[in-house]
């Protein structure tokens, strides 16, 4: 008994050491961080089919990574924007679909990051808000569901309306779970997500049950019909930028500091006059609103939604991409979504054909194994995520400046 325990401990220690060494090596050669994406980019550039899914994807990851790593100035943002607009023009329908998913999950990640990364509330039921946004929209506009309001004007009104309702749902979830911390909160929110899905499934009188809501009318942008993933990709891209902008600004404000204080020490935060109840509910509400907005766009793109679109996987994926990318940081979320949502798709046509080695189907057959291994590797090398949040540069500079002012 004791011996086994010892053996386990020794193993753990050995693993810890190996882990520490690997990380030290990783950090000691800063170029690794550049060589890796650069290599990917070169492979992409030399590829005969330039706009093949895989090289394009590699290129995108590379450019995004480099832009996000270095501080974002106007130039960086312009390059990023140009890339995000240009690349999908060259893509086929399937690739555009992936791009849409990446952007959508980025938006969801930004929302969940407010709850988990900023306020420190572990929420495993985030899909509930995504689902409610989608269903609120679908039920109101789909004629089959007895809604069938005129979509022409209502789509743009439905987005804020669905966001507001999702936010209300966020508060409704928040109220009973406010006193729970850590694991307990995770379990209850997980249950909440499942309850919403089961309700969508079982209340056929309202939701049409497992048959789903279909024939959701197309949205219009002025006279243009927003038909497929391509047009809606730009919509969700706008959503990502707005959400990212809002999230970063809130984080760098009194509100963001209050969240961080709650995450660090809830009682001490209260003693400083922070109304912890209010700020936790606020985090739930803002996170839920962003999720709800994503849901509307999703429903508009799918034109048919089903309860099974909103199972636990969505919550887990969004949480995983937040963690992989680097908790508490919008940039990390972008990268996390690219890897977590993009990688399994592009791995489909990954193959190794070299001399007598012929593994043409390795990607198609083993993509999830490769994907899983990649995630494990990332978490071993970078437990804090790929782009963990940086200390606040603005406050830093401001303080330095004032300090020298006072000194004179």
């Amino acid at each position: 008994m004791m011996q086994r325990f010892e053996a386990t401990r020794a193993l753990t220690r050995a693993l810890d050491n190996a882990n520490a060494r690997a990380r030290a090596a990783f950090d000691a050669i800063p170029l690794i961080r550049w060589i890796l994406p650069l290599a990917l980019g070169v492979v992409g550039a030399l590829s005969p089919q330039w706009f093949d899914t895989r090289p394009t994807y590699a290129l995108m990851v590379l450019i995004t990574y480099l832009l996000l790593r270095t501080s974002t100035n106007v130039f960086g943002l312009a390059v990023l924007a140009a890339m995000l607009v240009y690349l999908p023009m060259e893509m086929d329908r399937f690739e555009r679909g992936i791009l849409f998913d990446i952007a959508l999950y980025t938006m969801l990640g930004i929302g969940l990051n407010i709850v988990v990364g900023y306020a420190g509330l572990l929420d495993l039921g985030y899909v509930a808000f995504f689902a409610s946004g989608a269903y609120i929209f679908a039920l109101v506009v789909a004629p089959e569901a007895g809604g069938g309001w005129d979509i022409g004007a209502s789509f743009w009104l439905m987005i804020p309306a669905a966001m507001a309702l999702a936010a209300a749902l966020g508060v409704a979830l928040g109220l009973p779970v406010l006193r729970l911390r850590g694991d307990y909160l995770a379990i209850v929110t997980l249950g909440f997500g499942e309850i919403i899905r089961l309700m969508l499934n079982n209340r056929d009188d309202i939701t049409n049950g497992p048959r789903g809501v279909y024939l959701i009318p197309k949205a219009h942008f002025f006279d243009k019909e927003l038909t497929g993933p391509y047009e809606l990709y730009f919509l969700v891209l706008a959503g990502v930028f707005i959400a990212a902008f809002a999230a970063e600004r809130i984080r760098d404000s009194r509100v963001g500091r209050a969240w961080e204080a709650i995450r660090e020490d809830e009682d001490a935060a209260s003693a400083m006059g922070v109304n912890t109840t209010f700020y936790k509910l606020l985090a739930f509400a803002i996170g839920a609103a962003i999720g709800g907005g994503g849901g509307v766009i999703y429903a508009a793109k799918q034109t048919a939604i089903f309860p099974r679109d909103f199972d636990l996987d969505v919550s887990i994926n969004v949480l995983a991409l937040v963690i992989i990318g680097g908790m508490g940081n919008v940039r990390g979320v972008v990268l996390g979504a690219m890897l977590l949502i993009g990688l399994p798709e592009v791995l489909r046509d990954f193959s190794i054909e070299f001399a007598f080695i012929d593994l043409a189907n390795i990607g198609a057959d083993y993509r999830l194994v490769i994907f899983g291994a990649a995630l494990v590797a990332i978490m071993v090398l970078r437990p804090e995520g790929l782009l963990p949040s940086r200390r606040r540069a603005a406050e830093f500079e401001q303080a330095e400046m004032l300090e020298s002012e006072l000194a004179t």
Partner: protein
Amino acid sequence: MPPLLSVRNVTRRFEGLTALNDVSMEVEPRTIAGVIGPNGAGKTTLFNVLTGFYRPTSGEVWFEGRRIDRLPLHGIAAAGISRTFQNIRLFANMTAIENVLVGQHIHLKTNFATAIVRPPSVTREERSAVKTAVELLRFAGLTRRENELARNLAYGEQRRLEIARALAVRPRLLLLDEPTAGMNPGEAAGMIKLIRALRDDMLMTIVLIEHSMRVVMGVCERITVLDHGEKISEGRPEEVQQDRRVIEAYLGTGQIITDGRA
């Protein structure tokens, strides 16, 4: 002058254990009051009752003519009381200046909407908040440590940062739970200087809990002695020092009360 703080017959029980038993005390404005007593006497429990962490089982707490023992936890700061903790409770992964900025929370107005839009008023508010924070850190002797993470500060610096953070609330009553605990004599002397400056320069009213007799006798104008949850003595330092009950209470603990070294 009416008392700033008045504790009226406060009792606090924890399942069978009476941590505070019918304790009353008053604190006059602009004084430094001390609360002393052996380990487990109920000193920290008293602070927790004053700051809303515990509700009194019976009795009342009044501050500036207002009953405060039913206020929500976050309402205490708004009422004008702030505190430090015996086992330092800083926001460890935030910088020194961010800790102090959180302390200013109730005096700032930015909400999530104005944070997003960021009109000039928000920029101005933030700028002046940072300025105040830098000044407070200076006052607490933490010049040039603004951007250090709280957990990377030396122990004595952390205690000072807790005080700077508490001051940011702009309290009219400051509660310090063992501010010199764990400090070497040099650090402790600096802390005593800081506490005196708080009263003399910032016109603060202070209640402090101390184990170190030298600190208590040196800075406090009035002292309340607790033992097993009861108030056993009260008065000026010289009076308390002579009190037979106090000497008895401390005898059992091996602490020597008169030689100036705890």
